[in-house]
């Protein structure tokens, strides 16, 4: 059985050799995670899709410069985060839109999620909205590294060791950053009376 690392290695080799199927498999393997990362920064479904699309095009174009001394996802994650930062700098982020807001926006899928979970108890909808706003503000207050660690651990479900690998930091640093992030978020939630 091929383990995860070898599987990526084979796909990368395939892509280097110009095999379209290898590229398609890499996209299908990582697009969900990539979208979640991008959404965390861009906070807009269409904007996140654009960034993910561009990130994979970059992978195709730059695969020959990938030396293989780090894991494929580590390398890809950096390209993706840089693109997210660029998109944010270019002001692609819709200021009026919030990841957790319920309202008219381009985030139809997200709104559907919220509606599904709350249509039975509409009074909870307001509470969820307030909480969401607090969380969003809290996440925005984290430092870049705290946010990255939190995203990778909490939203993407990587193990602490994997987060350390991706960010090229020590596991102890991951724990410290997570701890700090949790306490900052606690303060924001508390300040909001939640």
């Amino acid at each position: 059985m091929i383990d995860k690392k070898d599987e990526d290695g084979l796909l990368v080799e395939g892509l280097r050799a110009g095999e379209e199927s290898a590229f398609r498999l890499l996209v299908e393997k990582y697009q969900t995670r990539a979208f979640s990362v991008a959404f965390g920064y861009i906070k807009d479904v269409e904007g996140a899709k654009d960034v993910v699309q561009e990130s994979f095009i970059r992978i195709y174009e730059k695969i020959k410069s990938f030396k293989g001394d780090s894991k494929f996802y580590t390398w890809y994650y950096r390209i993706l985060v840089n693109l997210c930062m660029d998109a944010m700098r270019k002001g692609k982020r819709t200021a009026a839109f919030s990841i957790f807001m319920v309202g008219e926006s381009r985030n139809k899928e997200y709104n559907l999620n919220i509606r599904e979970s709350e249509k039975e108890e509409p009074e909870k909808k307001y509470a969820a909205k307030v909480l969401s706003k607090k969380i969003e503000n809290g996440l925005d207050q984290l430092s870049v590294r705290e946010k990255q660690v939190f995203e990778l651990k909490h939203y993407q479900g990587f193990r602490i060791r994997e987060v350390a690998d991706i960010m090229e930091i020590k596991e102890g640093t991951v724990r410290t950053l997570l701890h700090r992030a949790v306490h900052k978020l606690k303060k924001f939630l508390k300040d909001g009376g939640l």
Binding site: Y110, N113, S117, K186
Partner: protein
């Protein structure tokens, strides 16, 4: 407690169930007897659980067709640029050559226009007689070197 610092370092791992069996048992035993660490774990759990209430949107479908289309567009635009490059170079060279030719007056087409063989021969005869250069004649004569040579030789 003596071990609090050590245990606190493991609380996030404990929450995410990433500790080995033995370490999990140690932390569980410690927090049973240590209210400080128990509160810390409660804080971590409560914050992370609150945040987990909100789910992020899921990617609605595969982005591969979009990515492939975007890539093909990028490649064809690059190919067009590559194809355009020699064309642009040739065009540039032509412009440079024409400017250079103008300055050096080496254009194969003289500023004279041949309309009529007879007219040309008369004009050239007049030129020879009066020692006047053909270019200064106010005649529209279109010719090339060969044609002029032949006419001059024929006189």
């Amino acid at each position: 407690m003596k071990n609090c610092r050590k245990i606190k370092n493991k609380l996030v791992d404990f929450y995410y169930k990433e500790l080995a069996e033995e370490d999990t048992a140690d932390v569980a035993a410690h927090i049973k007897n240590c209210p400080v660490c128990a509160i810390e774990l409660k804080v971590i759990s409560s914050v992370l659980e609150k945040i987990s209430i909100i789910k992020r949107p899921k990617l609605p479908g595969s982005l591969y067709p979009l990515i492939k289309a975007g890539l093909e567009k990028r490649i064809s635009s690059l190919a067009f640029k590559i194809w355009r490059a020699p064309f642009a170079v040739s065009f540039g060279l032509l412009i440079i050559l024409s400017v250079f030719s103008n300055n050096q007056n080496i254009s194969p087409v003289r500023k004279i226009e041949v309309c009529d063989e007879l007219l040309v021969s008369i004009a050239l005869r007049e030129c020879c007689k009066n020692n006047v250069k053909t270019e200064s004649l106010n005649l529209n004569i279109l010719s090339d070197d060969v044609f002029l040579d032949e006419n001059i030789r024929g006189l």
